[in-house]
């Protein structure tokens, strides 16, 4: 434990570095996956191919990807751009399917009603389809976020600073407390990012909160039975 107390600033630095790798990658995942998912959802024939490609990308082992990407991007292996790009790629691959399903699940009647009101295609997407897909998008993004945060440490093998460096350093030098601190801090970052997303969702989707409250009221007894069981 004394190692942790002596190295608080190292852990804090590593935590910030971890967040600075994970957060941009999560944002990229969302921003890139949604348009791809829109194409998959809008043009049915493209859906199979796009989701297949996304699945294949997700299947690439992470360490080789960290090494191959710099060759494609022209960045140094240890550049954080390289790491963020790799993490973003995995995030996109995972998010595309969630996003395509989320957009597909938006009520066709509601979209038709919006069209009949005189929504143009762009405005209908951003004003109606995207917000209504919001809860399902958020559910997917939470999985992507947690998965990204727990994937960051792999980049420590390249020597990029993150909580992963606490694992590699701790293993090499046989400091158990350092490894433990790395694991605990990674879990803490994942939880904080997840809670942050939930809070953001509540802020951006006030109607959802209201309807969840109502659903809870309606199924109150079922909930109690579930808790009792």
């Amino acid at each position: 434990m004394s190692w942790i107390l002596d190295n608080v600033s190292t852990i804090v630095d590593a935590t910030w570095a971890h967040l600075w790798l994970a957060l941009p990658a999560i944002v990229i995942s969302f921003v890139v996956a949604v348009p791809v998912a829109w194409v998959a959802s809008r043009f049915r024939r493209s859906r199979f191919t796009l989701l297949l490609v996304a699945g294949l990308i997700y299947a690439i082992p992470s360490l080789p990807l960290f090494i191959i990407l710099p060759l494609i991007l022209g960045t140094p292996v240890r550049s954080i751009v390289n790491v963020i790009a790799a993490l973003g790629l995995y995030g996109v691959a995972l998010m595309v399917r969630y996003a395509a399903d989320a957009l597909d699940a938006v009520s066709k009647d509601t979209v038709l009603a919006a069209t009949a009101m005189g929504y143009g295609p762009m405005r209908r997407f951003f004003g109606v389809q995207l917000p209504l897909a919001g809860p399902a998008l958020l559910a997917g993004l939470r999985v992507v976020a947690v998965s990204t945060v727990s994937l960051v440490p792999v980049s420590a093998l390249l020597g990029v600073n993150s909580l992963g460096l606490l694992f590699t350093d701790g293993f090499q030098r046989g400091i158990f407390a350092e490894v433990f601190a790395g694991i605990a801090a990674t879990v803490a970052v994942a939880v904080v990012v997840d809670l942050g997303l939930v809070a953001l969702g509540k802020l951006l989707m006030p109607w959802e909160r209201a309807s969840l409250r109502g659903a809870r009221r309606r199924t109150h007894t079922e909930d109690e039975q579930a808790v009792a069981a």
Partner: protein
């Protein structure tokens, strides 16, 4: 005035939803399209605001072919009320009503103020303004739907079975309100229903449709009731033998003796 000129709609699989329809819906009147499901009545309605493009013929509003107008602009100029209200679930009552004016560029504040007035006109309590659609009853949702259809003060209102999903008492209430509104506003209304009683209650003119979007008979309710042209229309109106009624005491009964009404 809405005019269908030889309008047809066939789908790729060969089904003919509407064939060679010629029909005029006069300005400031309620024209009701009535028929069983599959008679193409919803397709006809959707041709007017270009949700469906005719595969033949034309649909004209005040002698202008709708195909020559910008679809989005056209839709913003026509009120549309649908079954299950079609409200946007992520918008409050007041914002749902303000939708079209906001799309047309009215400042949000002004559109909301007008929406509050419309709530009163369609008989909604102001306390419902900040609620989301699922927090309203079926009847209230339909009122919001009607208010939204009227919000941009369109000349034309298209109503697609707007009262189909509410119970009979609420439906009768909504029908009365619609007639009261119409007496004030004088819109050109094209109304679709499968309920002949609703058609008779609301229509200045009723158009009875057969399968494939063919007109079986059209005219004022009294005309059609007095002179149905064929068996199809009589059956649809409920004028066949099973509805030959007679009076027993205070009650009106059908041939099997079941009470169907009371003599006033």
């Amino acid at each position: 005035m809405i005019e269908f000129r030889n309008a047809s709609k066939s789908y790729d699989d060969g089904t003919l939803a509407v064939s060679d329809l010629n029909l005029i819906a006069k300005s400031h009147e309620i024209t009701v399209l009535v028929g069983s499901s599959g008679c193409g009545k919803t397709t006809m309605l959707r041709m007017v605001n270009r949700l469906v493009a005719p595969t033949g013929g034309q649909v004209l509003i005040d002698d202008v072919d709708v195909a020559d107008r910008n679809a989005v602009e056209l839709r913003r100029s026509i009120g549309y009320v649908m079954q299950n209200s079609g409200l946007l679930p992520h918008r409050t009552t007041v914002d749902n009503i303000a939708t079209v004016p906001v799309l047309r560029g009215t400042p949000v504040k002004e559109a909301r103020k007008r929406a509050m007035e419309l709530m009163e006109i369609v008989g909604l309590d102001p306390s419902q303004a900040r609620r989301y659609p699922w927090q309203l009853s079926g009847g209230q949702q339909q009122r919001v739907g009607v208010a939204r259809g009227l919000a941009a003060d369109p000349n034309i209102l298209l109503m697609d079975e707007p009262f189909g999903a509410v119970d009979p008492i609420v439906r009768a209430d909504l029908q009365r309100e619609l007639l009261r509104l119409q007496a004030e506003l004088g819109k050109t209304i094209l109304f679709v229903t499968h309920d002949i009683a609703e058609a008779i209650a609301l229509g200045d003119k009723i158009v009875i449709l057969e399968k494939g979007g063919k007109i079986a008979q059209q005219g004022a309710p009294a005309e059609i009731m007095a002179k149905p042209v064929d068996d199809f229309v009589s059956t649809f109106l409920g004028l066949d033998e099973s509805r030959e009624l007679h009076v027993e005491g205070d009650l009106v009964v059908d041939p099997s003796g079941r009470p169907v009404g009371r003599l006033a």
